[in-house]
Symmetry: C2
DNA sequence: GCAAAAGTGTTCGCTGTACACCCATGG
DNA sequence: CCATGGGTGTACAGCGAACACTTTTGC
């Protein structure tokens, strides 16, 4: 009888120690665009460990949800927004990436319209937008996550009209060009850029113009949601290989 | 009985730290090419639960290793090969994807030269190559993993010379074309295909010919390893948009 | 009227595509 | 000598890149 119990405990111990259980977390690399350059949303940790240091927005996955669900929940809580573009990026699982206890993190890339984010909400979380290439040091392996997210963003945006997710409800072609130039660290010919974007038929021209940045003024456009959703399937060739 | 104790421990652990702990596994979607069509390596489970059913090659991540390391270990043990092409695909974390207890799985795509795989080794694991579109039902969410892997393979192979990983040490252009046609379910113009592949300078022409499939014979080529490694960085436009 | 930015027109070269054609050889 | 698959030649269309040029309007 006693032998039986010992055997059982052995088996249980094996399950719990050798085969190693761990915590599952999600971290979100949240990109935004303020009209000038690509931005990254970071939070200053309000709790130990490493209180005061900067990190990505993240949290733990609950028992009854998937990582996807957890990421959506966390982003929604932070931003007050639903239906935000979000995609699984990569899973980081180095044994000691979290210094406290073993935690595996599934990283997600989110693209949000910076203007939609409620000021109030993200201030509660001590969240701040930083220029993508000029932000404070990050905890754990979060810098690695950001680097990967930038790489994948460049890669995908060259083939898909992804970056439209970052634009406000109405915007001009030169504003969009500014975003592409920020993402690719490269200038594009305005004529060719405009034609290329418009050739996708993903934008609808509005009647009013933005006159803030030029005397002639540039027409506003909005995304044709129907066509945009449909185009997500097909991989278009997107990034103008153009440079000056 | 064992499950009872596990459950109890689970509850205790939850009480002490509200986040739930889970097992971390890896599963490998292993592709091969037999000269005719794309193949998938599956194993018949030799243990409960679900003994006798087919699944991807997989295993648990140990306490001292990352998912990447675990995947490499498992593939190496199965195949006897090192340095095999392997890339993280996606993480699957639906709460009840594993029916026994909560397990999160990081899926990996592997591309291997089918001829290099030691017959002995994979027979020990009851591993069998199946045509990619004609294989037995898989356990858990493994079919979802395979679908995702196929999708990503098509996507990546259109931009990178990935599929060369599946070819034997020496091969002919028509053989390579057969692989592309199998992956894309589409025929390509032989002339254009050959020129396109050769224009990458990734192949070195050998002096001998394969005379099995034609009277004239087709020259063998091998991969120029140096150039190939270098090309992994740059994204080339790869898949001929050609069809007949 | 001039400066400055938006947007159009136009040229040119490269590349993808289609398809005709030549090549080598086993039967 | 012909059928078969390997490989080359070539012509055309379309697209991207470059850049000149026109438009609009505030000052």
């Amino acid at each position: 009888m006693q032998r039986g119990i010992c055997f059982l405990l052995d088996a249980v111990m094996k399950k719990y120690s050798k085969q190693s259980r761990m915590l599952l977390a999600v971290d979100c690399i949240i990109f935004g665009f303020d009209g000038q350059e690509l931005k990254l949303l970071l939070i200053q940790r309000g709790f130990e460990p490493r209180k005061g240091e900067w990190s990505l927005v993240g949290g733990f996955v609950n028992a009854d949800e998937s990582a996807d669900t957890a990421a959506a929940r966390i982003l929604s809580k932070l931003s007050g927004l639903d239906g935000v573009y979000m995609e699984q990026l990569h899973t980081f699982s180095a044994p000691h990436r979290d210094t406290v206890e073993r935690t595996v993190s599934v990283a997600y890339t989110a693209l949000i319209d910076i203007q939609k984010l409620k000021q109030q909400l993200h201030e509660d979380f001590h969240a701040v937008w930083f220029p993508i290439n000029h932000h404070p040091a990050l905890i754990f392996d979060h810098q690695q996550m950001v680097d990967k997210a930038k790489e994948v963003l460049r890669y995908k945006a060259a083939l898909h009209p992804l970056l439209l997710e970052l634009m406000p409800a109405k915007f001009t072609i030169p504003q969009l060009q500014q975003l592409y130039e920020s993402v690719y660290h490269q200038t594009f010919d305005k004529g060719n850029f405009s034609r290329k974007i418009l050739s996708t038929k993903l934008l609808v021209k509005l009647t009013d113009k933005d006159k803030l940045s030029s005397k002639k003024g540039a027409y506003y456009y909005k995304v044709d949601r129907k066509r945009y959703e449909a185009s997500k399937q097909a991989a278009l060739h997107f990034m103008p290989g153009d440079s000056q």
